[in-house]
Amino acid sequence: MKIKISTKPIYYSSLIVLLLLGLTIHTTIVLPQRDHLTPQIIKGKMVWEEHNCIGCHTLLGEGAYFAPELSNVYERRGGSQGGIYFIKAWLKAMPTNIPGRRQMPQFNLTEDELNALIAFLKWTSEINTFSWPPSEKG
């Protein structure tokens, strides 16, 4: 039996690839206009990455499911009212050593790194995610 190979699917899939490229270009152009980055935020992202935070936490729902979502932690912990102080105190108080509770390591971040990380988390909480996560608890 000889198979007749039609080239039609190749055309369809290349149309789809073109559509993907078009949407990607649009997305890439639109994003920097909405999100304003400062050097501190960029440094905060680096702190976030170099301590493998997604090894336990999720950020915008991506990461591990062992510890709470952090994209809205800034707001959850008081926003401009006290988010900064809470997160800072929290990171310094780790590990809690409460028996039966999951423990977070002490990362010994410097004051500078802490401020950068919090600026990054604040910036992340302002991303327009169409009101995701559904509840404040993440």
Partner: protein, 456 residues
């Protein structure tokens, strides 16, 4: 074995299943940590890092072994450069060991410092935690591998199976470039991270998986024409659905809203390739009078599409629609889907290939009688059933998590809900232990039993 250079596949397969055992072992450690027992010396993040990274690595070892085995036979040609294949094996193994030891012995931040992450930051993103230099090494290995395969096919016979395998392999290598692109805008970084992960797991790897499956089915039934006819349909469907299916990763990461529509519409159809795969294997096996008597391989090959349909297809579809994903994104549901999907599509296809090729590579007859067949089939059932149950338990935990943390008026904090899901996590851990027993039986079967009873 028709071509001596196919023997290159052997160390790849052995490494793959050995790393598989290690990976599952680290999975057990994570599982224990989920039920609130703190283990000294290793944090959750480290164990999870090794669990997910080794998965990707050993599957790559498996794919490489499969390609080095299949390609000479399909192209009717010795491997273009089998010395290169051996060299790449040792390089890849060294990279794997260095990375794993680095994760285990050093704090992640120190590892990042030592390997100079500050000069070219690519670390600390899920599945892409490897240091930048290791990523470069991995890229070199992939390039050498693609080159070797491409040159072999170029000089030999071209069939649908080996061309598809080539497209899958070269595609994976090209897409890996996105591992080095980490824009400082988090949203864009997430956007392009999926260009690597989605196009590997739901694109090029799926093509590789389909090629290996087609090869095995061809070997079982001996009818190339019908296999290629089906393969053509399956590949066409895969290509048209999976490209824009990438939208289902973009719902809540901060990109424009139209991605919710694109992702929802296209990922509905991502079930189709798996639908056709099940239809394919059962139709072909029904149509031909196959005399093939390695029952373990037949069992693996026929179950792979079924399990892929359930794990990747059904469980994926369950939370792929944007309105559902709004509630399920970033919960245990994702974890349930990831476990069953990885096992059913990629782990099972690599194990099918190993089960098929290893007896031949070890100079035994294709058919292994008696106890070794029975043990392998036992291992199959232990692994498949326990993984399905694990996925079920995690999914149930996920439903509970969604309900209590997100869907009710008075939502509870994350950590309190985790405590109430502990029964499900215990059940999952028991499933994991059974799975590990299955893995051990599978491996011992290769290294012990066949030496004694295998050759007839």
């Amino acid at each position: 074995m028709l071509y001596p250079s196919q023997a290159v596949a052997k160390p790849y397969f052995i490494t793959a299943i050995a790393l598989f055992a290690v990976q599952v072992l680290f999975g057990l450690i994570i599982g224990i940590q989920y039920v609130m027992i703190n283990i000294p010396f290793i944090t959750f993040a480290t164990a999870k890092l090794i669990h997910t990274n080794l998965l990707i690595i050993w599957l790559l070892f498996g794919f490489m072994g499969a390609a080095y085995y299949i390609i000479p036979e399909e192209s009717e040609q010795e491997l273009y450069n089998s010395k290169l294949a051996v060299l790449l094996f040792w390089v890849f193994l060294a990279l794997t060991i260095i990375t794993t030891l680095g994760y285990l012995l050093l704090p992640y931040a120190t590892f990042a410092k030592i390997t100079g992450n500050q000069f070219f930051p690519t670390m600390g993103r899920e599945y892409l935690e490897q240091p930048t230099i290791i990523k470069l090494g991995l890229f070199a290995v992939l390039c050498g591998f693609s080159y070797n395969i491409a040159m072999t096919i170029l000089h030999g016979r071209k069939t649908m199976i080996n061309l598809l395998l080539l497209v899958g392999i070269v595609g994976s290598t090209i897409v890996f470039v996105f591992a080095f692109y980490n824009p400082s805008n988090l949203v864009l970084a997430k956007y392009y991270r999926w260009w690597l992960l989605h196009f590997w797991l739901e694109g090029t790897w799926e093509l590789i998986m389909e090629a290996i499956l087609a090869y095995i089915i061809f070997k079982i039934t001996g009818d190339r024409a019908i296999v290629e006819k089906w393969l053509y349909i399956i590949v066409a469907v895969t290509l048209t659905t999976s490209v824009l299916g990438i939208g289902h990763h973009y719902y809540w990461i901060g990109v424009p809203e139209y991605w919710q529509w694109v992702g929802t519409i296209f990922s509905v159809f991502e079930l189709l390739p798996f639908f056709f795969m099940v239809l394919f294997v059962f139709n072909v096996v029904n149509c031909t009078k196959c005399q093939y008597s390695n029952n373990a391989v037949k069992l693996w090959a026929l179950s792979t599409p079924i399990m892929a349909f359930l794990g990747a297809g059904v469980l994926g579809f369950l939370h792929t629609l944007a309105p559902v994903n709004y509630y399920s994104h970033g919960t245990q549901i994702t974890s349930a889907h990831a476990h069953l999907a990885f096992y059913s599509t990629y782990v099972m296809i690599v194990l099918t290939m190993v089960s098929y090729a290893m007896p031949i590579l070890r100079d035994h007859k294709v058919i292994n009688h008696g106890i070794s067949q029975k043990l392998e089939i036992l291992a199959f059932w232990l692994m498949t059933v326990s993984m399905s149950l694990m996925a079920l338990f995690i999914a149930i935990a996920g439903i509970m998590q969604i309900y209590v943390q997100r869907a009710t008026e008075i939502a509870l904090p994350f950590i309190e809900i985790q405590n109430s899901m502990v029964v499900m996590f215990w059940l999952r851990e028991i499933g994991g232990v059974v799975f590990f027993i299955g893995v051990i039986i599978y491996i011992t079967n290769f290294f012990m039993v066949k030496k004694k009873y295998g050759t007839r």
